[in-house]
């Protein structure tokens, strides 16, 4: 186990460095460059830039989302590195069988997501301190957004890893996409023809209100917000359970998948 984990660290040094650096780019540098007036650089002021960034929390949220997308891609590299028949058969012959290899991959992926969360938190602390130092403004904390992001990432990885293991990263991504569109199609069929609960119309109204910007003027939480919070409440438990189930499924699929790898 230690040896396999060491192998992952050696093999994925680049991934770890990128993961630690992505939040610096997404949370600080990109929004900062967005607010610099390149036509009038003499008027540049850090205090002004930080104040502007702090005034647009939605932009910071979008940057968190951007970081999350990058991480989704990076995690696939962890699996891509070991995608060969020879390695899989060798792994299956190790003490503890292929289960140890899969276990290490899951632990390492979890560590990568944890590192991303820590990196986000660290760079946000830097941002908060710099903002306060530059212009005495208290930046709103996004730590709960990062926490939600962590569990969403965990849930997504739980879904996609068995596809990677069974079909390889390239074909696995396509298979996952097909499954995703199939689910959307089924959902659409249900929305159009299926028996809908009474509260569904209200939910759609809330969604429409939110999209039209009317939600900001509402003082009471709307249906969408209520259900959103309830789903959010179950997210940590669902993500952890899904990750464990995903590991069990991947263990069963490992050797079947190895037969289909190209290399």
């Amino acid at each position: 186990m230690n040896g396999l984990l060491y192998k992952e660290f050696r093999q994925n040094r680049g991934v770890l460095i990128t993961i630690a650096a992505v939040p610096l780019l997404s949370l600080i540098l990109l929004p900062m460059f967005g607010f610099i007036d390149f036509g009038n650089l003499s008027a540049f002021s850090f205090a002004r830039v930080w104040t502007d960034i702090n005034d647009v929390p939605l932009l910071r949220m979008l940057m968190v989302l951007l970081g999350a997308f990058v991480i989704g891609f990076i995690v696939s590299l962890i699996f891509n590195a070991d995608e060969s028949k020879k390695w899989c058969y060798f792994a299956a012959s190790l003490p503890g069988s292929a289960e140890k290899v899969i276990y290490t991959k899951y632990v390492f992926t979890f560590m990568v997501l944890g590192l991303f969360f820590l990196s986000q938190t660290f760079w946000e602390m830097v941002l908060q301190h710099t903002c306060y130092g530059a212009c005495k403004i208290e930046t709103s904390s996004l730590i709960y957004v990062f926490t939600v992001d962590f569990f969403v990432q965990l849930l997504f990885r739980a879904v996609e890893i068995p596809f990677f293991v069974r079909f390889g990263v390239k074909r696995g991504s396509s298979a996952r996409l097909i499954a995703f569109f199939a689910l959307i199609f089924l959902f659409m069929v249900w929305v159009l023809f299926g028996p809908l609960p009474d509260s569904f119309d209200e939910l759609l109204d809330s969604l429409a209100a939110l999209m039209l910007g009317a939600a900001e003027e509402q003082t009471q939480p709307n249906k969408l917000m209520e259900y959103g919070y309830l789903v959010l409440g179950f997210l940590p438990y669902a993500a952890v359970i899904a990750y464990v189930i995903s590991y069990k499924i991947s263990c069963k699929l490992y050797l079947k998948g190895a037969e289909q790898y190209e290399k």
Binding site: M125, Y132, T139, P221, E226, Y229, G233, F234
Partner: protein
């Protein structure tokens, strides 16, 4: 005998470092920027987090200074066969807090959710917030890892051969409580307006840390890893307040340690008593296994 002297020397060095690394910046910050500024706002978090890592740094430095080496640091996950202890670390403290708060509200408060409903607007919103708060607490374990890596990861191991299990629980708890003194003086946890301030505050903190120390020591001993203790500590700091938010009704927050709070802690006290017995049994079993070997 030589081993005991060596352990005592290492323990003293560790304690001096753990207290020094955390207390010196805390006292300086208390007197310069003030407790509220550096501990309760977001813009000094960059400085606050390293302070809580004082015991962790002391662990590493003591190993380096005494040439002990970096083996047996309890940094392995040891998930196999220990998932139940990880789950326990995640959910036990919020569950005990929920039980205690239900007891306190039944005795001294009143069941009235109107104020909470007014605050959150809807029961679904409240349920989502509480569930997420408790569920997400382990992710915030990076805040508590520093303390656990020092206290449970090093101090307890050095103290056990010198003072035995019961001695480690009591003396370790008192020391851990005392380590919070620069914060307790500034009103952390108990405020400032209570009889005997700040000395009774130190006493409350020492008692609380002794009780909670038992639970944290138990999961560490059972798993041989400090992560469950860090998760349990995070659940206490970040998860349990959500259980309290939901179930403490009609009880006004008061400074100091009130009788209502005592009832909130009854399940934790009972659990600590049970875990002490379990720990003593575990240690006895380990000693007899060592003797046989």
């Amino acid at each position: 005998m030589k081993n005991n002297a060596q352990n005592a020397k290492r323990l003293v060095i560790f304690l001096l470092l753990a207290f020094g690394i955390s207390w010196i910046p805390e006292i300086i910050l208390n007197h310069t920027v003030g407790y509220h500024e550096y501990f309760e706002t977001t813009h000094y978090a960059l400085f606050t987090l390293p302070i809580t890592y004082g015991p962790a740094l002391a662990n590493l430095l003591t190993r380096l200074i005494t040439k002990e080496g970096f083996h047996d640091m309890k940094l392995h996950l040891r998930l196999k066969g220990n998932v139940k202890y990880y789950l326990m670390a995640w959910l036990l403290i919020p569950a005990l807090t929920a039980l205690g708060c239900t007891l306190a509200t039944s005795l001294y408060g009143k069941w009235d959710f109107a104020a909470l409903k007014a605050l959150y607007g809807s029961p679904k919103l409240l349920a989502g917030t509480v569930l997420f708060g408790i569920g997400a607490a382990p992710v915030l374990a990076f805040n508590t890892f520093g303390e656990e890596f020092g206290w449970r990861g090093y101090m307890n191991d050095k103290m056990k051969p010198l003072l035995g299990t019961t001695g480690t629980i009591v003396v370790g708890g008192i020391l851990w409580g005392l380590w919070h003194a620069p914060l307790t003086v500034e009103g952390h946890n108990f405020g400032k307006d209570y009889p005997g301030y700040p000395y009774t505050g130190f006493l409350y903190m020492a008692i609380l840390c002794t009780l909670l120390g038992v639970l944290l020591m138990y999961v560490t001993e059972k798993t041989g890893s400090i992560y469950p203790a860090a998760i349990m500590h995070a659940s206490l700091n970040f998860g349990a307040p959500y259980a309290r938010l939901l179930l403490t009704q009609g009880i006004e927050e008061q400074p100091g340690f009130t009788k209502e709070q005592f009832f909130e802690y009854i399940p934790i006290i009972l659990c600590a008593a049970v875990f002490t017995v379990l720990l003593l049994m575990l240690m006895k079993k380990q000693r007899s296994a060592d003797a046989k070997a």
